[in-house]
Symmetry: C2
């Protein structure tokens, strides 16, 4: 295994609960982290962002990215950290010109909408994404082994949605028009995206990422059949190229999360990854039966899936909802070496309006309730 | 059976393909209609709307509502008409003040966000919705028995989403905060909504509607567990109150469509309705196996589910996608009296940007391909 970082540069891991659960190994509690845990609901995040001047100013500055990644760990007993970045860094490096207008979502200056634009697409020079890899290494050092660090990317299809639409969309009309009317162009774009995402995630692994997650945020807008062809097949193409071992010599678990993909779990069981993310519409017991596997047999660890809007209720109500999710999954594994496991998370990113103290209620409830379930 | 309309006021039905398919009876082709088939993609609709001055001006004028309901039938060989109206007429009649700002979605002047506002909610006087029932009768007369007329309403949960949020939402934060923090208020609102929707649909049946559809457009944003408790249970409360026979003495089929509800089909199999609508994420073969029933046994007819963005492809590509959907369902029933049936539709309302000629390609492909499948 080659790496630009010496293996002994990072402190040994103190809390391996998350990584063990990813690999369907026994843990004394259900690990928990939250999508977008470093974000606008935290006043300290807003302060750092104000210093940085803009979202991309924050993401491209190693010190700022490190600072905000660690902020939620100071407040909450989270079992993993996730790189602070954006899913659209890769198409930005392709030259599409990413920007975040005040109060709006991301926007590309040069969307990809015709044959000429598609023909010009290529896997970008990874040096253009050096700021991401530097952030990964910086965060690993700053973590001092407290919890593992997750790297991530958007899925090839999700990147294509933004690349064609140029911004968020209600109906995905432009990208789906290309899909149905010019599937040849769509396949070419997705192939480039998949190879770019694979290089990007491998460079994150080389920089110190201990797990990687592919966010297929818009896979769920596709029709049955189209999902398998235009999203899942290219996620599989990414997975096939990923490094299996990180800078520490440890296995790097791979997580795939298709929002709205609950109906395709049996398809996704064939993906060469360790963990499947689930949104809140999915019944965890049913998902465990479908893809969670048996004790000592193969299967996927499951990650999710509480509705982030639960965090607007009172602490005792939050604890009750946490209990429902944990009970729905049921007791993990069966005392043997490996078996079905659950990683607690939201079914979507945390809302910027979340009261920070309610996140404490959620994290504490996960730890307490999941220990009781194991007794 | 009592009715304000004499049974003999309406011409006998010439094309009963849609109603037969709803009741899982044999038909010589798969019937087709399109959600929002009377809409902005048709230039003649835009001309009528311009005369009416506004969306509600169109919906509240019997002549205009009749005119636009029949427009798509002049262009396409559709097997059903659907009342031109809006899902939010009921909360408007409750006094919430519905308006449609130019280029934006619906908006309520008085959203329902606290205990006092919820306490004041009541089933509205159906006389305030007389314009809807008058439109139903007028359309029935204008149809002269060509095809059956479908009446509709939003589901109790979907109405609640708009009533609390006051407009469309990305995250349903306000309505879900009420759901999780004050479930007592949410249950009261949903009970009022259910009883109002039942009265509303019964009055449409009395006015001449030959089938009714409940649009649970936002059921799919709920978490597993919450969907069953806060959406499906109140849809069931509506269904339990609906008249079973219309002004013609014929059974009135009831259709329930939960967008994003594909994961809950086995739950929805217990609903006392004849038809389940499906969005495009659902595999029709799998849905048929789960809830379509066997020959001569009970089961649901299935309605759906092509992605409306297919209509932006070329005619031959549209025909190919239509073929995939019909083949996915497979040959309906088995030659016996009743069995699994399919009603072709979109998985969501047709886009305003749809080229009208492409709708011809779709409708014709449904008729042709579905006849071939039956050979």
């Amino acid at each position: 295994m080659t790496s630009s970082n010496p293996t002994n540069a990072f402190a040994p891991l103190q809390n391996d609960t998350f990584l063990r659960a990813c690999l369907r190994q026994a843990t004394d509690h259900t690990p928990v982290w939250l999508m977008r845990q470093a974000g606008r609901y935290l006043p300290e995040y807003c302060a750092t962002r104000a210093k940085a001047g803009s979202f991309m100013g924050l993401a491209t500055n190693t010190d700022f990215a490190t600072e905000v990644t660690l902020q939620p760990l100071e407040r909450y007993e989270l079992d993993a950290a996730i790189l602070f970045s954006d899913i659209l860094t890769v198409p930005d490096a392709m030259g599409l010109g990413l920007s975040f207008a005040q109060g709006e979502g991301p926007r590309f200056a040069s969307p990809v909408r015709d044959e000429t634009a598609v023909a010009q697409l290529a896997v970008p020079d990874m040096d253009k994404l050096r700021y991401v890899f530097d952030a990964v290494t910086s965060i690993r050092r700053a973590l001092q082994g407290r919890v593992p660090l997750i790297g991530f990317s958007g899925s090839p299809w999700t990147l294509a949605c933004y690349m064609v639409e140029g911004k968020g969309s209600d109906d995905y009309r432009l990208v789906k028009t290309m899909l149905y009317a010019r599937p040849d162009l769509m396949h070419r774009m997705l192939a480039v995206n998949a190879d770019a995402v694979a290089s990007y995630l491998n460079a994150q692994i080389d920089a110190g990422a201990q797990a990687v997650m592919i966010f297929d945020s818009w896979g769920g807008v596709l029709a049955d059949g189209a999902f398998q062809t235009f999203s899942m097949a290219y996620t599989a193409r990414v997975l096939a190229q990923l490094k299996r071992v990180g800078t520490d010599g440890q296995v790097v678990p791979r997580i795939v999360f298709t929002k709205g993909g609950g109906g395709w779990l049996t398809d996704m069981a064939s993906l060469d990854c360790e963990v499947l993310g689930l949104d809140w519409t999915v019944n965890l017991a049913a998902a465990r039966t479908l893809v969670g596997g048996a004790d000592n047999g193969p299967g996927k660890a499951l990650q999710g899936n509480i509705d982030p809007n639960v965090l607007f209720a009172q602490p005792e109500q939050i604890a009750a909802e946490v209990g429902k999710v944990i009970d729905s999954f049921g007791k993990p594994y069966g005392g043997s070496g490996t078996g079905p496991t659950h990683i607690f998370n939201l079914g979507h990113g945390i809302s910027q309006y979340t009261p920070p103290e309610n996140v404490s209620a959620l994290v504490n409830a996960v730890h307490q309730h999941s220990k009781r379930v194991r007794m």
